[in-house]
Symmetry: C2
């Protein structure tokens, strides 16, 4: 079965993305991925140190963009500007990386525990604060959390909606729903 294929690394990544999207990270075994690629499970583990390394590499681009969004939010002069940048940046992130986000499929809580993703939790916390505008108000925090989780959880289901249309709908939703920061 073996070919002269040094591109197997990429094939494994693509296959893993498909399987994770279909059955989740936990619900996908290394054997599932190997079968989809058409190689042995040992070959998968030859190209990747372990199962988590596959997910880490798949999520790397999205995480990098999330991190830069975090920086941009921190640079804003006030809560109103921070809220606007957070909303637009998060929608852009959700639309562009909806495929990657879909891989996590509600396993955020468990996966965020893992060391490779530890800092994501803190970034999410700051993102929620920025979206809430006035994070000291409970209702503002609830609103921000619901919207963030809802978009993260569902954006992967809109694979057939064009980027522009999805982005417009989500941004309009955020503008309607978010409470403006205290003046």
């Amino acid at each position: 079965m073996a070919r002269t294929t040094p591109q197997t690394h990429g094939e494994i990544l693509a296959a893993a993305a498909r399987r994770f999207a279909a059955t989740g990270y936990r619900g996908t075994s290394l054997q599932d991925i190997a079968t989809e690629v058409g190689c042995s499970k040992a070959a998968v583990l030859y190209h990747f140190a372990n199962k988590e390394a596959i997910l880490t590499e798949l999520m790397a681009p999205a995480i990098e963009v999330l991190r830069s969004l975090d920086d941009r939010i921190a640079d804003q002069p006030g809560p109103a500007a921070a809220q606007r940048v957070a909303a637009e940046g998060f929608v852009d992130l959700a639309v562009r990386f909806r495929g990657e986000i879909a891989l996590l499929r509600g396993e955020f809580p468990e996966l965020l525990q893992q060391p490779d993703f530890a800092h994501i939790q803190q970034i999410s916390e700051r993102l929620i604060d920025a979206l809430a505008g006035q994070p000291e108000r409970a209702s503002a925090r609830i609103t921000a959390l619901v919207l963030l989780a809802g978009i993260a959880e569902t954006c992967g289901q809109f694979a057939d909606v064009p980027d522009q249309e999805l982005g417009d709908a989500l941004l309009a939703l955020l503008r309607r729903a978010l409470e403006p920061p205290a003046h």
Copy 2:
């Protein structure tokens, strides 16, 4: 270790609820539940046919209320009334059963596949249509789906917020965010 305890059934339910809430359905083994109760894994399976039966019994009250909400929505004369009833009913459901909903922890997709929960998917579909108001508009459907998923995903995290306050915040969010049905 054995006691004269016919209330073990209830203890197992309570322990399972705690473990499911902490580590999810998949992330909780029968041994975990047995250890928490202080009995053997075989004792757990004496009181319940299998692991799924525990979850089914835990979710039964919430599912019953969801089903009656579905009926009430169907009885409404028009889309505007249906949207209002759907919003109020769903918020009430989310607040009252946030503990039970939290158990699912993002495993909705997998769990809904199981035969015991098959009809839940159809109810959810009708609930989204009612919330969307004008389900033929893509943006209205996206809005409804994001809000429904967001509330379902996060309401379990607000265990410390009083029912009244949480309900008010969620209902206010829905009223702001949902697009009114075509006149």
